[in-house]
């Protein structure tokens, strides 16, 4: 809190005006529209709209497609988070042992952050292309017939790998920072007491790293749920047979391709509630735990 302030009354509003105008026009108004439309149903020509109460939400709850999308999103988010964070932690622990080569390895590992999700999708799609890709060629040698166009498991594997790959660098940077904040004195004391590297890792590093881990857990779930639209759209487009149709993709598809405004708006509202819940978790718990 500042003790010294300026007294103008009009100036702060002028300074805030651009931000508030954009917030109202492009954030709050559309969000309110989404909430309004989620209670309405439009006829096929978009002329008549009727108030239908919660029936759009009810329809979602009874729709096997939407329940499938929920399940797909959960599986996808968990797999991306675990794969990306696990791999990043392994690399961060390895880099933590280095003295001179830390910066070289860091440079070689951080750049995928800058690759757009859609481009990451295209790259992995090419690698796994059933006819000319590199991976199916090797998988064929061990007797696995890879085809992400027809196999649900293969399609999910592809989008998980592409999404996790892009997120490794982010997790890596935060794990490295977290590891550096673990006091060396604690590990030295444990070493003197006879604890080996594995024991020290699980009994000292892992607990002291938990604020970083928890923070990254929330960030990665948010990433997997909302920022991977590009990966999905550039590779599987939700297919085959809805196997990779995550919630964000379904909102877009039902709204723009299916033209089902009421249902799409109801899905938007549900997604907003999920984001609000995740933001609250992040602010309440992460802030507290980071301070310890």
């Amino acid at each position: 809190m500042k003790r010294t302030l300026f007294r103008n009354q009009l100036l702060p509003w002028l300074l805030l005006a651009p931000q508030l105008a954009i917030t109202f026009i492009f954030f709050l108004w559309p969000a309110a529209q989404a909430v309004r439309q989620s209670f309405l149903r439009q006829d096929a020509f978009g002329i008549n709209t009727t108030f239908v109460g919660l029936s759009n939400f009810q329809a979602l709850w009874n729709s096997p497609e939407y329940l499938n999308s929920l399940q797909v999103t959960a599986v996808f988010a968990v797999l991306v988070t675990v794969l990306s964070m696990g791999f990043a932690l392994l690399l961060a622990v390895a880099v933590d042992r280095m003295i001179r080569s830390t910066s070289v390895y860091t440079t070689l590992l951080v750049w995928p952050y800058a690759v757009a999700p859609a481009v990451a999708g295209i790259l992995w799609w090419f690698i796994f292309n059933p006819t000319i890709g590199v991976m199916p060629y090797f998988l064929d040698a061990i007797g696995y017939d890879w085809n992400h166009i027809s196999s649900k498991t293969d399609a999910m594997t592809l989008v998980v790998i592409a999404s996790a790959w892009k997120q490794i660098s982010y997790n890596f940077l935060f794990f490295v920072a977290g590891l550096q904040s673990v006091p060396a004195s604690l590990r030295e004391a444990a070493a003197i007491d006879g604890a080996g590297p594995v024991r020290r890792f699980f009994d000292i590093t892992v607990p002291l790293l938990s604020p970083t881990t928890f923070f990254l857990l929330v960030v990665n779930i948010v990433y997997a749920m909302f920022d991977t639209f590009g990966v999905i759209d550039a590779t599987t487009e939700g297919g085959p047979a809805q196997a990779t149709n995550i919630l964000v993709y379904k909102v877009y598809f039902d709204g723009f391709v299916g033209q089902n405004m009421g249902s799409s708006a109801a899905q938007s509202v549900i997604l907003m509630l999920i984001v609000i819940a995740l933001t609250v978790v992040q602010f309440r718990y992460v802030e507290k735990k980071v301070a310890y």
């Binding site: 500042k2 010294t4 302030l5 300026f6 009354q9 100036l11 702060p12 509003w13 300074l15 805030l16 931000q19 508030l20 954009i22 917030t23 026009i25 492009f26 954030f27 709050l28 108004w29 559309p30 969000a31 529209q33 989404a34 392994l90 390895a94 880099v95 042992r97 280095m98 390895y105 860091t106 440079t107 070689l108 590992l109 951080v110 952050y113 800058a114 757009a116 999700p117 859609a118 481009v119 295209i122 790259l123 090419f126 690698i127 292309n129 940077l173 920072a177 030295e188 070493a191 960030v219 909302f226 590009g230 759209d233 909102v251 877009y252 709204g255 723009f256 997604l271 907003m272 609000i276």
Partner: protein, 282 residues
């Protein structure tokens, strides 16, 4: 390092090298593919080393593009991406820094409400409210324009919080001194706050430039005229168009060009990048 264990050090190096190789694999494959001709993929064996057609493929994409895909030359799309990324990054910084200044250095009615309005944007990512936002932009006649590409993405709670945090650490004595010397609020803002937040602005710029360059869904929806295609959104249109006729070498050349500017920014300004990343997520 607690104790010297050569075996573990070797293992750590091997892990890291394997990690670097896995992380680099897709880009290596894309690069190799972008240096061959279409017929090299037909033979059934996948080339693993670069071919001789590097300059030919890249200059074709930059200058002419693939006419059958309906996308403009990659050079045009990169320029559009650059304009969009710069508008988003500069716009976000400009409106956030003035908002933070207003919230920290003034007391006025409804100050808390203004703060919450900005905070709430954090909970409304564009993917979530995509259909109504598109309708607003269409109603305002902003489809197929640089304004439509950038302005709806400019509001930023994270940037505002970052600057608020920075301003709160600036000692009150500076403000008092400025006021005694007769400086008004805008002079104080320009001559004291802006110079003191220079590195924060630079770090934020790196993050926001990457954010802007990598936008996908938004440009895909609001650009129907190929004059405004951005490269990240255009690449999908190109991949779709060449599906029948596999011109993978050209798609991969485009992918390489699409990631070159943001990757160069991350590697070239690594220190600022890490600073920006850590600060914006606090």
């Amino acid at each position: 390092m607690i104790e010297n264990r050569p075996g573990l050090n070797l293992l750590a190096h091997l892990t890291l090298m394997l990690g670097v190789a896995i992380v680099a694999l897709p880009v290596w494959v894309a690069f190799v593919a972008s240096t061959h001709t279409a017929t090299d993929f037909m033979s059934g064996t996948i080339p693993l080393w670069p071919g001789p057609h590097l300059i030919e493929n890249y200059s074709q994409m930059l200058g002419a593009g693939v006419s059958t895909s309906g996308t403009p030359p990659v050079g045009t799309m990169m320029l559009n991406s650059l304009i969009m990324a710069l508008l988003i990054a500069c716009g976000k910084i400009a409106i956030s820094i003035t908002s933070a200044f207003a919230i920290v250095y003034f007391r006025f009615p409804l100050r808390n409400m203004a703060f919450w309005c900005i905070f709430i944007t954090m909970m409304l990512p564009v993917e979530v409210r995509i259909v109504p936002t598109f309708q607003v932009v269409a109603d305002l006649g902003m489809l197929n324009s640089y304004a439509g590409l950038s302005i709806p993405l400019i509001a930023s709670a994270t940037a505002t919080f970052l600057f608020r945090q920075v301003f709160l650490t600036i000692p009150d004595e500076l403000t008092e001194a400025a006021r005694i010397d007769g400086a008004g609020p805008m002079k104080f803002f320009r001559d004291i706050l802006l110079p003191l937040s220079r590195t924060n602005i630079a770090a934020l710029f790196v993050i926001l430039f990457i954010y802007g360059w990598n936008q996908y869904l938004w440009p895909l929806l609001i650009t129907t005229s190929s004059d405004y295609y951005t490269i990240v959104a255009g690449i999908k249109r190109m991949a779709d168009a060449v599906d029948g006729l596999p011109q993978w070498h050209l798609v991969m050349a485009t992918a390489m060009l699409a990631m070159l500017p943001p990757v160069a920014v991350v590697i070239g300004m690594q220190r600022l990048f890490v600073k920006g990343l850590v600060e914006t997520e606090k």
